[in-house]
Amino acid sequence: MSGFDHDVVIVGSGPSGIAAATALWRAGIKDIVIYEREDQIGGIPRHTHHPSFGLLVFKRPMTGPKFIRALVRRCPDVRFETNTTVTALGLGGELEIATVSGTRTIRARHIILATGAREAPRHARLVPGLRPQGIMTTGALQQFIYSSKLRPFERPVIVGTELVSFSALWTLRHAGIKPAAMIEENSRITAYRPAALFARLLGVPIHDNAKITNIDEIETLKQITIDTASRESMIIPCDGLIFSGSFVGENSIAAASHLTLNPRSRIPQVDQNWITSDPAVSAIGNAIHPADMGDQCYLEGLKTGAYVAKLLAGKLAPAAEFMRIQHNAGIKMTTPSIVRLEKTGETRFDLAFHVTDAFNGTVRVSQGKDVLYHKTRHCLPTRRIMLKNIRLQSCTADKDQPVSVLLMG
């Protein structure tokens, strides 16, 4: 093991990172370190104080911080290093890390990127208007209210109606802040319909088919203008604006590295075992499928950790072939985005994806002439759609053809 500082370095201490460490530890790989760039571990759940965690893992609802504490109890000896930022990923298991004393290079036999996701902010959405203070995302809001005990505004507008948008509503309610409105670009809310009831109970109007056309004023936020389907335009006085949802993977380390990225999404390419184009690097969690539930990320992390343990023990057959997975418009991304084929026999894998818009119809997975999956599914955006046990026959597959995932009208 000479030349390596650790067996495995995990980048990010959210549910998937903790899970990978837990599984590795259980499999006997003990020289693990989890780097966390924040001063606290836990990723997004550490500042998400509503009970949307724990149902799959612990069979009961828990808040984010409680969920993280419970997960850490399952791997009490794993080493976390906070305030440690990975600034570059190189070949051969090399990482550049920054701590309070500067940057240095370390090497690991295997690296697991579990860098999470964040919400698309105002500028990436090309929202028109001025740039006053008071514009943020739900993630930032939660940190203001719960972590810093600070109140950034008194009457904000929430942009979006995903589950996380109602988390913003929950957070505001906790601080005694009443939002002026929620606005949604589409004709129906993105979260499950009953969520709208929560807003209604709090007396917060939801404007659908609404688009921001202006933000005023220069220094302090005074009002926004929206276009709605029913009315030409409408001014909403407010002193804050929360852009919620529209998660994107935090893949800046991968994007600046040698890893192959999927075209357009720029998410690192991974196979069904979460191995990237570099066999010494895995990528897992919401960085590659922004964004699933914390519990789902945890369960995925456990599988990854177990796989990496086998890989490091030399228990896996090398030199497999790979097959691309392609998808049509309407699908945001698939996980995996490439399939590692067993040399002989059957390759089995689960295939998850997200849709860009609500879809009710047939989902078909095919490879060459073979149909691997064909079922009617009801797919909503921001939810993970899981196709279990896709089977590919290595001997009969036409290796030049990709696996193709289609939404059929």
């Binding site: 940057t103 995302t137 302090t220």
Partner: protein, 478 residues
């Protein structure tokens, strides 16, 4: 130099508060002029109506250090640009200011533009930029393989560079303060009277008196001129919208990609920033409003379209920031800089998009103009050489604080800004006056997440130090 107004305001009528020079406007030109006069020994005061320097036109530009290759030959603009360019390269190392030596390519996208390249080379040579050469389509492809195959050829201008547009003017003002200058923010000049010896300028924060007034108010230039004389020009603000792409897009180009210019605008530019992003813009839109520069979706989408047409790989990359700036253009092409004889007033107006490059040259020109027009007005003295302020290095191609290790953790993860860097920007000679000022001084919250990860921490660190504050305490309320 704490911006403590109450104490100073009370004593403003006393002799010690009479200034040799009052500079109105803390844009890049005002900062450079304040530095120049302070270094020459004049007792100099800078008045800025915003909460920090660079609150107007100077905060939004393309950050290019121009050679002047395409400036009108014989113009004052060209002379100031070239003097400013030279001085910047002489002094930048003393102040730890970066230069990213990219060079520029003026790219022809059609036959008509291709035919203009000869003329561009000739003009560059006439302007003394003799290393400007035309390059073939093949050479262009070799240098910029990311460009669309619509590119037909280019003119190479090797010494067009990229600089830090916010640290440079701040460094100028810091050095001025070290040489004895003072400044007041949130101080808008609304009136003025000349008593034959002193100007007495009225502001919302009391009266300030000085022998010589220099108007550097950019988009407000003609209004401020009215205090002294009827302006001979009219400010016609020209809005420019920009897109900043994620650092992942930075490697798509090697040089600054300039379009073949028209008489109105330099056109849409693709350039790296010293911070490691890729910048696309500006648009050129005439508007009446002098203060408000909005971004609008249609224009941004138009910019994206033209960016993708020039650089097809760009379409995969995310936008980190959008912004709009107002360039203080006038009906004239050249700068409008002149001294009013007998009135101790110099107008520095119409400094459109080339102000960042030209500022140091403009400052030298204005000092000359002042001493020629008003001989003996200011007793310039050669005091001790002012210390160079050493600026925090924010350029991606240089060593940053987080790499060297300053004993504190990274707070802003997108831009790798440490806690010590943030705290330092809130103190010292010219502390950040508002959040924008802090962002420009440190890069904090300027990255791809727009503050998702760090804004609450920044709000904690800036508690009680910024106006308006980022948040109020909830302690005791929850």
């Amino acid at each position: 130099m704490e911006p403590d107004f109450t104490e100073k305001d009370k004593s403003s009528t006393r002799q010690r508060d009479r200034w040799d020079v009052i500079v109105i406007g803390g844009g890049v030109v005002g900062c450079a002029i304040t530095r120049r006069f302070a270094l020459a020994g004049a007792k100099t005061l800078l008045l800025e109506r915003g909460k920090d320097i660079l609150s107007g036109a100077s905060k939004a530009n393309s950050a290019i250090l121009h050679t002047g290759f395409d400036a009108p030959p014989g113009s004052l603009e060209l002379a100031c640009m070239q003097a400013g360019y030279r001085e910047y390269l002489e002094i930048h190392k003393h102040m730890n200011l970066p230069v990213l030596k990219t060079g520029a390519l003026v790219v022809a996208w059609n036959e008509e533009q291709l035919a203009q390249l000869d003329g561009i080379v000739d003009k560059a040579h006439e302007n003394g930029i003799t290393d400007t050469v035309q390059i073939s389509r093949n050479d262009l492809v070799k240098r910029e393989p990311g460009l669309s195959n619509m590119a037909l050829g280019a003119v190479e201008v090797p010494r067009e560079y990229v600089i830090d547009p916010w640290s440079a003017p701040l460094a100028y003002l810091k050095q001025a303060v070290r040489a004895g200058a003072d400044y007041k923010f949130s101080t808008e000049v609304t009136s003025g009277e000349f008593d034959g010896e002193f100007w007495h300028l009225g502001t919302g924060r009391g009266q300030f008196s000085g022998r010589l007034v220099i108007n550097c108010t950019g988009n407000n230039g003609d209004n401020i001129e009215q205090i002294c004389r009827p302006p001979t020009f009219e400010i016609r603000p020209r809005k420019g919208q920009f897109l900043v792409y994620d650092k992942s897009a930075n490697a798509l180009i090697n040089s600054i990609i300039l379009p073949v210019p028209t008489s109105i605008t330099k056109g849409v530019v693709l350039t790296k920033t010293v911070f490691g992003n890729l910048l696309l813009g500006p648009t050129a839109e005439e508007q009446a409003d002098r203060n408000v520069a909005r971004v609008d979706r249609e224009m941004l989408e138009g910019l994206i379209k033209s960016g993708n047409a020039m650089l097809p790989g760009l379409c995969e990359h995310a936008v980190t920031a959008t912004y709009a700036g107002l360039r203080p253009a006038t009906q004239f092409k050249d700068y409008q800089i002149d001294a009013e004889a007998g009135k101790n007033w110099i107008g520095v107006n119409g400094i459109r998009s080339t102000g960042l490059t030209a500022s140091l040259g403009i400052a030298a020109h204005v000092e000359r103009l002042g001493s020629e027009t008003y001989p003996g007005l200011i007793a310039f003295k050669s005091g001790p050489v002012a210390e160079w302020p050493v600026m925090p290095m924010l350029a991606e191609h240089e060593k940053r604080a987080y790499q060297l290790g300053d004993g504190t953790e990274i707070v802003c993860h997108c831009e790798h800004v440490t806690r010590a860097e943030i705290l330092a920007a809130l103190e010292g000679e010219v502390p950040a006056g508002d959040l924008g000022g802090l962002r420009r001084r440190t890069r904090v919250m300027m990255g791809r997440c727009n503050g998702f990860y760090c804004s609450a921490k920044v709000a904690e660190l800036t508690r009680g130090k910024l106006a308006p504050p980022m948040a109020t305490d909830t302690e005791g309320q929850l």
